[in-house]
């Protein structure tokens, strides 16, 4: 078990996203990113949606996921796609994280699985059945078509809801989403990526 980080724990208990984010960056700023991840992982596994959101954010923002993916893949856009897939897997399967290993170890295992999935899909030269869509693509098309998903999307923090809505419901290119929101294209891409992961997590919880 990670050492208790009282401020973060309390903020998660209260569901106070602002305070929790500040606590995360405080602990992370002291050069202990693994501790933050482990704590968030434990709380997310125990069912805290806020912890899941922060975990996905941290994994993405710190570059942990990207570093793991880049070990096995070279093409930049492929790396982006697989990072998205990994975040979705993390968000949807965090309940199965037992705390028996470090979060990064658990994530690395997920990365390898998503890398293999990606390579297999690429190698299949026949027309892809729907099942063979990448998790990112599937989530994107789900969001565009299903009402329950829209509910999950509506429940997202505005930070993620807006760009995902523009991208997946209105079908705008990343560049236009960025223009509309006055954010950089990189920011928008990662917000959409995390937002989809969180929608997936919410759906998982609803099942």
């Amino acid at each position: 078990m990670p050492e208790p980080t009282p401020l973060l724990d309390e903020a998660l208990d209260r569901g106070d996203a602002v305070a929790a984010r500040r606590a995360v960056s405080d602990v992370g700023g002291r050069g202990d990113p693994d501790r933050v991840l482990d704590l968030l992982g434990a709380r997310a596994a125990a069912g805290s949606p806020l912890a899941t959101e922060l975990l996905v954010e941290q994994l993405d923002e710190s570059g942990v996921v990207r570093r793991f993916v880049r070990r096995a893949l070279l093409d930049e856009s492929t790396v982006d796609d697989v990072c998205q897939d990994v975040l979705i897997s993390v968000a949807t399967s965090i309940r199965s994280f037992t705390g028996g290993s470090k979060v990064t170890t658990w994530v690395h295992r997920i990365v390898r699985n998503r890398v293999v999935d990606h390579l297999r899909r690429q190698r299949t030269t026949t027309t892809l059945p729907d099942d063979d869509l990448s998790p990112g693509d599937r989530m994107s098309s789900l969001i565009a078509t299903r009402a329950t998903v829209r509910d999950a999307l509506a429940a997202l923090p505005a930070l993620y809801r807006e760009p995902v809505t523009l991208r997946d419901l209105e079908g705008l290119p990343y560049s236009e989403v960025a223009d509309r929101l006055g954010r950089s294209i990189g920011t928008v891409k990662s917000q959409i990526s995390r937002g989809r992961a969180l929608v997936a997590a919410a759906l998982e919880d609803a099942v």
């Binding site: 096995a72 690429q122 190698r123």
Partner: protein, 422 residues
């Protein structure tokens, strides 16, 4: 299935090597108008994330090593079939293994200049690898390459040229052993490293540090020196880094090279008393390096002159002997003449006269195979007697080595004095 004509921007040519993990092609980079080497990870392994990661990591690691003696990674890419590939500098003169095989077929044995040329290139390469906080882990004759163009003249530019690394060539080390290591830990194929050039600590799981490479360097030079008439001091220098325990080896590549260089120092550096006037190719040891690595109970032996006598052999056809066994016997530490019920001994005269043959006889019990090491540095296997004719006066020795059934090396040494004619 024929390979693709093009991978990325590279026009793929002949296959120049096939390993258990990757296929190596000659290729043309049309943009830069250059011939390069493409090392492509095997298709079936490309779906294994662990092997993929190792393969890519090897490319990135090699790229960090800046040395003209380590193969340059120009680029890394991925084929349409998701196979990662490395674009590498071409070694247009082949491998050290091929070069030595060709030379041996012509009756060549290594000269001090040959040993020095390889030792210096290797030491510089391995130093650069270690400076990048890497361990090579797979130094072997097939992984040491030759290419045109020395960037810098060697320190021995004025000395006799080497025929192994020619004056217009540069030695390069290739292929880190990352993928092979993985094979070892996952039991996929062979053990990490290359048979005969793999240090003991790489034979099983465990940690390996830079001193593993020193072991392999010594093994490589031992292989190179096989059958050659070289100072015994060289064997001593190499033996130190062949110690099973890494702690007893040289601390780094520079120390290793110093020892090797000193053992091959030209005759003029010897104390006058030991400077014989034997034939040109006679051994010149006697001023070997401080014997820090081997058992130190024999300080008086340090200045022993060996082989200032050149003996002509009057034996039948030579019997080839694999480098591994013979060389190992040559380098065996703390020789014993018996183990269990097996023993070796040599009988024969303790004195000889220049020009008059003497006969030495093997007394071997408990094993069917043995090897003579003659003062000329050559080996003879499984013959009962050898006849030797000295060509100049001095002292000399012959060794007889074998393995007991339990694998213990056993050795007998016969020393004799050679008097001048009449």
């Amino acid at each position: 299935m024929p390979g693709p004509a093009r991978i990325g921007r590279y026009q793929v040519g002949d296959v120049i090597g096939v390993g258990s993990f990757a296929t190596v092609h000659r290729a043309v980079d049309e943009r830069l108008d250059d011939t390069v080497v493409l090392k492509v990870l095997a298709e079936n392994h490309s779906l294994n994330p662990e092997i993929r990661e190792r393969f890519i990591a090897e490319g990135r690691a090699l790229r960090r090593v800046a040395s003209p003696h380590v193969v340059t990674v120009h680029d890394i890419g991925e084929s349409d079939r998701q196979q990662p590939y490395l674009v590498l500098e071409l070694a247009d003169r082949g491998t050290l293994a091929e070069r030595v095989r060709t030379l041996r077929a012509e009756g060549w044995t290594a000269s001090p200049a040959d040993v020095l040329a390889v030792a210096r290139g290797l030491a510089v390469a391995v130093e650069a690898v270690h400076a990048a906080h890497l361990v090579h882990r797979d130094l072997s004759p097939g992984n040491v390459l030759l290419r045109t163009g020395p960037d810098v003249p060697g320190p021995d530019a004025d000395g006799p040229p080497s025929t192994v690394v020619r004056p217009d060539e540069r030695l390069m080390v290739a292929d880190l052993g990352l993928c092979k290591d993985l094979a070892l830990s996952s039991g996929l194929t062979v053990a990490g490293g290359t048979d005969g050039f793999r240090p003991p600590e790489q034979a099983g799981p465990g940690t390996v540090d830079t001193r593993a490479d020193l072991w392999a360097m010594s093994a490589l030079l031992t292989w190179l020196a096989d059958g050659a008439d070289l100072p015994r001091g060289l064997a001593r220098a190499l033996r130190r880094s062949l110690a099973d325990s890494p702690a007893r080896r040289h601390p780094d590549a520079a120390a290793w090279l110093r020892d090797v260089e000193q053992s091959l120092a030209p005759a003029r550096e010897r104390p006058p008393a030991a400077a014989g006037h034997g034939a040109a190719r006679s051994a010149t040891s006697g001023t070997g390096p401080p014997d820090a690595g081997s058992s130190s109970g024999r300080p008086g032996r340090r200045r022993r002159t060996v082989g200032t006598v050149l003996l002509a052999l009057v034996l039948g056809a030579a019997i080839g002997l694999g480098a591994g066994w013979g060389a190992q016997a040559w380098l065996g530490e703390r020789p014993v003449s018996s183990a269990g019920s097996a023993s070796v001994a040599i009988s024969g005269p303790a004195t000889a006269t220049v020009g008059t043959p003497i006969t030495l006889t093997a007394r071997v019990v408990g094993t069917d195979h043995w090897v003579w090491t003659l003062p000329t540095g050559t080996y003879r296997t499984d013959v009962g007697t050898v006849e030797l004719t000295a060509s100049s006066p001095g002292s000399s020795e012959v060794t007889l080595e074998a393995r007991a059934p339990d694998g213990t090396p056993i050795t007998a040494v016969h020393r004799f004095e050679v008097a001048g004619e009449g």
